[in-house]
Subunit: 246 residues, 2 copies
């Protein structure tokens, strides 16, 4: 008979793995669409959000056309998606990020997990995609944490996975480094990332480390441009216990 | 008969690969010592520099004891090493970096390549090794570029290769991203990095990208501490033509 501790652990594990609808805000953009496609492919329920509900529905139809009618993907206006999900993934260009977040703030459920994938590229203000802007709070993800209501859990992830790697059919040759101050939320997002073939989901420590993740993207864009390819990142030397997926 | 162009190319290649003494400033510290050991092992001529010539000589003896008397490694005071080498590698803790560089400035040869491995860790001022300080110039390497005489070529590299990975006997599971504004100097340093087994030497673009390299180290230290291991980084998706060594 299992003891109380192992019962609790198996409860926890079940909760971490439980299917919950994933709301992809800005899911008609290249990165959001790629993530929505991959999660729908993994059997997850995905709600694509856009400013324009019709465009979101169109994106959902496109995924169904690719994966078949059994794919659990729908589209709606961003606020409606926020109101319907406990797990929200922000895939927004930095130039519209703070403004949209202020609009969405009342629609985000208390206790929800908000996964921020945003990179404050210099390109947001007409500069280079190989450089980042300095964000007052330290990173786009920390800015997000300041803009949401208390109790909403912000987690930084997926900055280093390019849209093109997600759009291809093959495994994604990239680690997803997940940073956040709520340990349970980090674990949930790691499980979410590991659903995409090839991705190894790693615990990257506190949310403030999003500063480094965001800058790595600018470096990777430089590598990709110079070599006319699509680059990713891997951390070496980790024990298997630190790696989810792959 | 080879045409003029291929002759020139083979000249260039020969020059890039030509053995030149490598001066390792701060080479009695863990990272400098590890690099000196690896290069001596690869048959290079290495001059270990320290504030104290006797300590530098002691470190050189230690390497000879390990590799045998044929190892081409000697030790001397930092300024003497600078004066003797066209290729200098700075392996200094950030807290003493700018001060020592001002002392060394008149001893660095015109046209020399200065490879900066420095990471401005918050630990330099009593903070955490998982965070970096903001350097006015953008990075420690850009600070170095400001402190040396015009014509000295500063290249950023080796920030992400931990001393422990170098001290082990096995191949180093880490890419070395080389950043600099002088393309020839970057190529020379890539060849230098590729002499260490396991290391893949990559062109990381302009010197300003050292900002990202330096921050990656703080992230890797976090991974290493959390997992009681020694982590490195690899860039994925690159064509073979972009990779030297490995």
């Amino acid at each position: 008979m299992p003891n109380r501790r192992s019962q609790r652990n198996s409860h926890d594990r079940a909760r971490l793995k439980a299917a919950r609808p994933i709301g992809v805000i800005g899911g008609t953009g290249a990165q959001g669409f790629g993530l929505a496609l991959r999660w729908a492919q993994a059997g997850e329920t995905v709600l694509i959000g856009s400013r324009d509900a019709a465009r979101a529905q169109h994106a959902a139809e496109k995924i169904k056309k690719k994966l078949g009618p059994h794919a659990k993907v729908t589209g709606d206006e961003n606020r409606a998606v926020c109101a319907a999900c406990d797990l929200i993934v922000l895939t927004l260009p930095f130039e519209g990020h703070a403004t949209l977040l202020k609009e969405l703030k009342p629609s985000i459920r208390p206790g929800a997990i908000v996964v921020d994938t945003t990179v404050p590229l210099d390109a947001s203000v007409g500069g280079r995609a190989t450089r980042t802007l300095t964000v007052w709070q330290g990173s786009a993800a920390e800015q997000t944490a300041e803009l949401v209501l208390v109790g909403v859990k912000v987690v930084a992830a997926f900055q280093n996975v390019g849209a093109r790697l997600l759009a291809d059919d093959g495994p994604v040759e990239c680690d997803v480094i997940v940073c956040g101050d709520d340990r349970e939320a980090v674990e949930i997002v790691r499980h979410l990332a590991a659903k995409i073939p090839g991705i190894r989901a790693l615990d990257g420590g506190p949310l403030e480390n999003a500063r480094v993740l965001e800058q790595i993207t600018a470096l990777l864009i430089g590598f990709s441009v110079r070599n006319k390819t699509h680059c990713g990142i891997r951390i070496t030397g980790l024990p298997n216990s630190a790696i989810l997926g792959g």
